[in-house]
């Protein structure tokens, strides 16, 4: 297939389980801070990665372009760049475009061309598509990734961006000069895949629109989830857990309008025996969600941090087969695979706890509604 990769098989041609490290930081008051803390946090967990992928997502980093979709794209040939730009011109107003600034780093090699576009859907095209702008943009992104060989859109949200590469995450952070960006929340991922495809697109976070997911685990429900979500126009070309989890969250939250709490009740649904013990009303809702979206239940070990506009959600599998720690200090909330990754940037948290399996920790900016129901507490699921 693609003629641009160095090693085969690539992500998407085989399914590659990986172990990993994840970390996330958010300022609930919306104070912006650089990517440095995320770099320091993930560096502590060096041994949980093996240099085959690292990446970051920052939210609130493009305030001057907050109303435009920021597309981050890898190109493996100038031809791919040309076709992708033709496609973009055809479907969007290009407000600004540039190379994403990087620094040469000895541990980061074989880099593709990395470009950034701030875009907005062409009004006429959007109207004739009869879609809302999110769906329109999502479909365009999926189409580019599926159809243009050598072009890969790895970030497509508003006022947020994903930065990822093959390498250790702390090196990836230096490479992308994340000291120069300021956001109100950051997530980061260090990857330990069990074989070596070494493709930049395969690094994490995986992102669609403003959702980004970092994930540690190997889900045993993968193919059940994949075959179900693909009914709704998604195509899981990377064959990774993170990809399918992101699509499921996009479907449940954006398309079905579920709150993040409700999303957690689908993908990490409580056991029937737990549902049985709930109040009548909760029981009905949980049973309904679990039955209606049965094929979106995720089994097997996972811990994820979901980034979205205005917040973060951390979630463990129902048995808590992967570590996940949360901490709080002043207006900051920290989430990570290991306590040490929090203490290195926040030595004395006000509170530190281990969220239980299947119970989401949802953190939203103050004064912002976290989910559809609008009753989200700033921190829930303790």
């Amino acid at each position: 297939m693609n003629g641009y990769h160095q090693r085969t098989p690539l992500e998407g041609e085989v399914r590659i389980p990986s172990g990993c490290a994840i970390s996330g930081i958010i300022s609930r008051s919306g104070k912006r801070f650089s990517g440095r803390e995320a770099i320091s946090s993930i560096a502590v967990m060096h041994d949980r990665s093996n240099g085959l992928g690292g990446g970051f997502a920052g939210y609130g980093i493009y305030p001057e372009y907050a109303d435009f979709y920021a597309l981050h794209v890898f190109y493996y040939s100038s031809e791919a760049k040309r076709s992708c730009e033709d496609f973009l011109e055809e479907h969007f107003d290009l407000i600004n475009l540039s190379k994403i600034p990087t620094t040469k780093h000895h541990a980061i090699t074989d880099e593709p061309l990395i470009w950034r576009y701030f875009v907005t859907p062409l009004p006429t095209k959007l109207a004739s598509s009869q879609l809302d702008e999110n769906e329109y943009t999502a479909r365009c992104v999926i189409k580019i990734n599926r159809e243009i060989d050598g072009a890969y859109v790895f970030s497509s949200g508003k006022n947020m961006g994903v930065f990822k590469a093959v390498g250790y995450p702390e090196d990836v952070g230096e490479f992308y000069r994340l000291d120069d960006y300021e956001g109100y929340s950051w997530t980061v991922h260090g990857r330990y895949p069990t074989n070596t495809p070494g493709w930049w697109g395969g690094a994490h976070p995986f992102s669609l629109l403003d959702y980004s997911v970092v994930h540690n685990g190997e889900i045993s429900s993968y193919d059940a989830n994949r075959r179900f979500i693909e009914m709704f126009g998604y195509s899981c070309t990377l064959m990774t857990d993170t990809e399918v989890i992101t699509y499921m969250i996009d479907y449940l939250h954006r398309k079905q309008g579920l709150s993040f709490e409700e999303v957690a009740n689908v993908i990490a649904a409580p056991f029937w025996s737990t549902i049985e013990r709930k109040s009548q009303e909760e029981k009905e809702v949980c049973t309904y969600l679990r039955n209606t979206f049965a094929s979106m239940l995720i089994t097997g070990p996972f811990s994820i941090i979901l980034g979205f506009s205005g917040g973060l959600m951390a979630l463990n599998d129902r048995l808590k087969l992967r570590s996940l720690v949360a901490a709080e200090k002043d207006d900051r909330v920290y989430l990570a695979s290991e306590e040490a990754a929090i203490r290195v940037i926040c030595p004395e948290p006000d509170r530190l706890w281990y969220p239980s399996g299947g119970k989401p920790v949802i953190v939203t900016l103050e004064g912002q509604q976290g989910g559809q129901d609008g009753h989200q507490l700033p921190v829930s699921g303790l």
């Binding site: 190997e218 045993s220 429900s221 193919d223 075959r227 979206f293 048995l319 129901d373």
Partner: protein, 501 residues
């Protein structure tokens, strides 16, 4: 007149040193194989009547009996085998259709046996079902495609009617008539205890069994035997039988000799009249007609019961299933060609239809391609023989399975394949009161409960091995299967990779 000498298939071997002439075998054999020879004071056997049902062997107190295959043979011929020649003799003599029962004994590929199951190692832990929750509860029925909320933003939790199964296994249709009262009662009792469902088949529901309605699926077949408003409302779901795996394209025939008082009442037909269900439903000649019947039944039950449409697995099954999924039906049941029957023309049983594994794989895939898999649940049957067959069926995409032959074997059936004679020595496929009472429904239901419980344990064990702790995460999870010794085409249809890949 030709001389059609048919040498008996079996020999009854009696160890005379052991035989005490207690005459148990004589009393037990409805086929009258055994008799006592006053002259010699010894037991003798007419093996031409033997069907090899093992009743005498099982009850002989001194283990004096065994049944062996005869070694009498025709001159060897790979093409004109003995059974082929004998069938021709039989038909030359009778001029009739050859009858047979139970599933086909022919040597077709069994794809269940050519698929292997995955397990977790290192990257992902297996889960111990003895220590952690392991869930097999399944809901069958249409799933909502859009979440609706009330004025306060609360999710409206009303759904289309659902069947709740604690174990994804149900007893499939066997009519009262084709099997006995006691067999039906065993199934009903077991379904109730297991939290699953049994199926009336096309013969109506005996009044004694209305009390098990919560665990009953009532069937509506082309003969409409025993169908009335009370019947439709008695069960938890209604199944429209369009076809049966063992005999796709043809109807059913219960001979008048089996239509005694009780059965005539239950079926609502005259005493001793043949019960013939037509090949098609005469009000369904096309898919839109099916839709009308689906909705007629929904109207008759005030939209409180899921409607199942049962079809035989035939060549274009995925297109048919896609049509059914758009007909308003809640559940599609597909019956593979190895499925059992109380009586069917042998040629139909042995040559018509396709294996359930392939039918299931292509239907599930097709419904997903069309984005309508959520419209219906899929139940498959047609020779599910063990918990690993169940597991593989679910991994291919089934929501639940139907079992019948396995259930009968648990009740004592020895697969002699002569159900159509009505002389089942195990009290299952018979209406002879002397034979029926050999099957004790309390014991029968206990054995059924044991079997399904054992299968569920095994299912959980294997799921745990794969790191899956809920059945829904297994459903359609084809990455958990690998083919062994299969060709590319077969792998493509099954949607799985070959072992090692």
């Amino acid at each position: 007149m030709g001389i059609n000498y048919l040498y008996p298939d079996f020999e009854v071997v009696r160890n005379q040193d052991r035989c005490i002439s207690c005459r148990v075998c004589e009393r037990q054999c409805a086929n009258e194989v055994h008799s006592f020879d006053e002259a010699t004071g010894r037991m003798k056997a007419d093996e031409s009547k033997c069907v090899n049902c093992h009743r005498c062997v099982s009850l002989c107190p001194t283990r004096a009996l065994k049944i062996v295959k005869t070694d009498h043979t025709f001159k060897e011929n790979a093409n004109w085998k003995g059974e082929v020649i004998q069938d021709i003799y039989r038909q030359a003599e009778s001029g009739g259709v050859l009858l047979a029962s139970m599933g086909t004994p022919k040597d077709y590929p069994v794809y269940w046996d050519k698929m292997l199951v995955n397990a977790s190692q290192v990257t992902n832990p297996s889960i111990d079902p003895l220590r952690e929750p392991m869930e097999t509860r399944t809901y069958l029925g249409q799933k909502e495609s859009v979440i609706k909320r009330d004025a306060n933003g609360k999710i409206i939790t009303k759904t289309a009617p659902q069947l709740k199964l604690e174990i994804p296994i149900m007893f499939s249709a066997m009519s009262y008539g084709s099997i006995s009262y006691n067999a039906h009662k065993s199934l009903a009792l077991a379904a109730q205890e297991l939290g699953i469902y049994y199926n009336t088949g096309e013969g109506g529901l005996h009044e004694d069994f209305y009390q098990y309605g919560k665990n009953t699926i009532v069937q509506v077949a082309s003969g409409r035997f025993g169908v009335h408003p009370g019947y439709l409302n008695a069960g938890a779901a209604i199944e429209i039988k369009m076809g049966q795996g063992a005999k796709p394209g043809i109807g059913g025939h219960l001979p008048g000799s089996k239509i005694g008082e009780d059965i005539s009442k239950t079926r609502m037909i005259p005493l001793h009249s043949d019960a013939i269900s037509p090949a098609p439903h005469h009000d369904i000649y096309s898919i839109e007609d099916l839709r009308q019947l689906v909705f007629a039944l929904k109207e008759a039950t005030a939209y409180t019961k899921p409607i199942i449409v049962k079809v035989a697995a035939v060549h274009n099954i995925s297109a048919i299933a896609s049509g059914i999924a758009r007909s308003g039906a809640d559940i599609i049941a597909i019956d593979g060609f190895r499925g059992g029957t109380g009586a069917a023309p042998a040629r139909t049983r042995d040559n018509v239809g396709i294996p359930i594994e392939l039918a299931l794989a292509s239907v599930d895939e097709r419904l997903r391609q069309e984005g309508i898999r959520g419209n219906v649940s899929l139940v498959v049957g047609g020779s599910i023989r063990s918990s690993s067959d169940v597991l593989k069926a679910i991994a291919l995409g089934a929501d639940a399975v139907y079992v019948a032959t396995s259930a009968l074997i648990a009740l004592g059936c020895h697969l002699c394949r002569t159900c159509h004679s009505g002389k089942c020595n195990w009290g299952i496929a018979t209406q002879n009161p002397e034979l029926v009472k050999r099957l004790n429904p309390e014991v029968g239901s206990e054995r059924l409960v044991n079997l399904i419980t054992a299968w569920n344990h095994e299912l959980k064990e294997m799921m745990g091995g794969m790191g899956i702790n809920s059945i829904e995460a297994l459903r359609g999870n084809r990455l958990m299967l690998r083919g062994i010794g299969l060709h590319e085409t077969e792998l493509n249809i099954l949607g799985i990779k070959h072992a090692g890949a």
